[in-house]
């Protein structure tokens, strides 16, 4: 990685982190768990990395198996995470 591209990636990191801090203000306590669950599903974005890891070589190697394992795990995180969050929020609305 070149220093220039590293600096750009750091810019992205700093700004996105700041945005993350600012986005969460005055959240009502009832929304804590759904918010946690929903952002947990977003952290399953590692699925993108897993797909790229699966793609590296066309034959079976240890790195490819690791990529496939990562893909299954990340997909569980993404699909399960979003579905559970949606279920929580749906129940939340009925109560109101």
């Amino acid at each position: 990685m070149t220093t220039e591209s590293l600096i750009i990636l750091f810019y992205i990191l700093v700004l996105a982190s700041y945005l993350g801090f600012e986005l969460i203000t005055k959240v009502p306590p009832t929304l804590h768990t759904p918010l946690m669950s929903g952002s947990n599903a977003i952290s399953g974005i590692t699925m993108v990395g897993a797909i790229l890891a699966c793609n590296e070589l066309g034959y079976s190697t240890f790195s490819k198996w690791l990529g496939m394992l990562a893909l299954v795990l990340a997909t569980i995180n993404v699909v399960g995470g979003y579905t559970v969050t949606d279920r929580m929020l749906k129940m939340f609305k009925k109560k109101k």
Binding site: N40, I76, G80
Partner: protein, 280 residues
Amino acid sequence: MNIYIQIAYLVASILFIIGIKKMGKTKEARSGNQLSSLGMLIAVLATVVQVEAVSLVEILICVVIGSAIGLFIAFKIEMTQMPEMVALFNGFGGLGSLAVALSYYWLNSQELNANIDAITGTSTALSIFIGGLTFTGSIIAFLKLNGKISGKPITFGGQHLINLILLLLVIVASVFAVMYQADSTYVFALVALALLLGILTVLPIGGADMPVVISLLNSYSGMAACATGFVLNNNVLIVSGALVGASGIILTQIMCKAMNRSLINVLLGGFGQTVSTDGG
């Protein structure tokens, strides 16, 4: 990289940001979650179109298996089991990040005999460490909430010292893994240490504090994804990982305040035992 793929990643990032913002408001929370899932779909599709046709079948099989398991768990569980399920999913995400980083390391150091530069190597070690810690930590949190392990803080003498020593060993193993890439001993030592530290840091924390711990571990899994983004030089991973990492920390703080506890108090576990029975 194709310009359309970059634009798709940008759109996905924007949807994540709007999604998180909306999830903080009672009325818009559900649509916020749906927007963020749409963002995820766009990011995944934009990634899938890049892959070689040979890998496509395996990728589809993995996605189908993962989706089936995820849906099965998500629909089967009771509402009361929600927090422990979040912990379990979070653990899977952490292990996923670890596996991606390890796969990248293995591919370059063992299979291609290419040298990984110091910056990428550091990101790889970070991703493996945070991912491993998140995995075992989340599993312990899951088992504690589940009642499979006692919810009481499990403490033993000198555990803070042991954790500190393990953390130092993590740094040593990381440096060696980056310096001597031909020898795979160090990277596996790093994996083992990270897994062990996850167990040891969550065991001493009481069951009443678990939601706070899960929120913190959720933040960690975001950071692990972010570190993976540095490994793969991928913007969407960095943006979403950083968003989850930072918002997770703030959410943890807010949850601590709501429980009248300080984060340090929760993390030091056993010390806060009496407080947690009063407050929690």
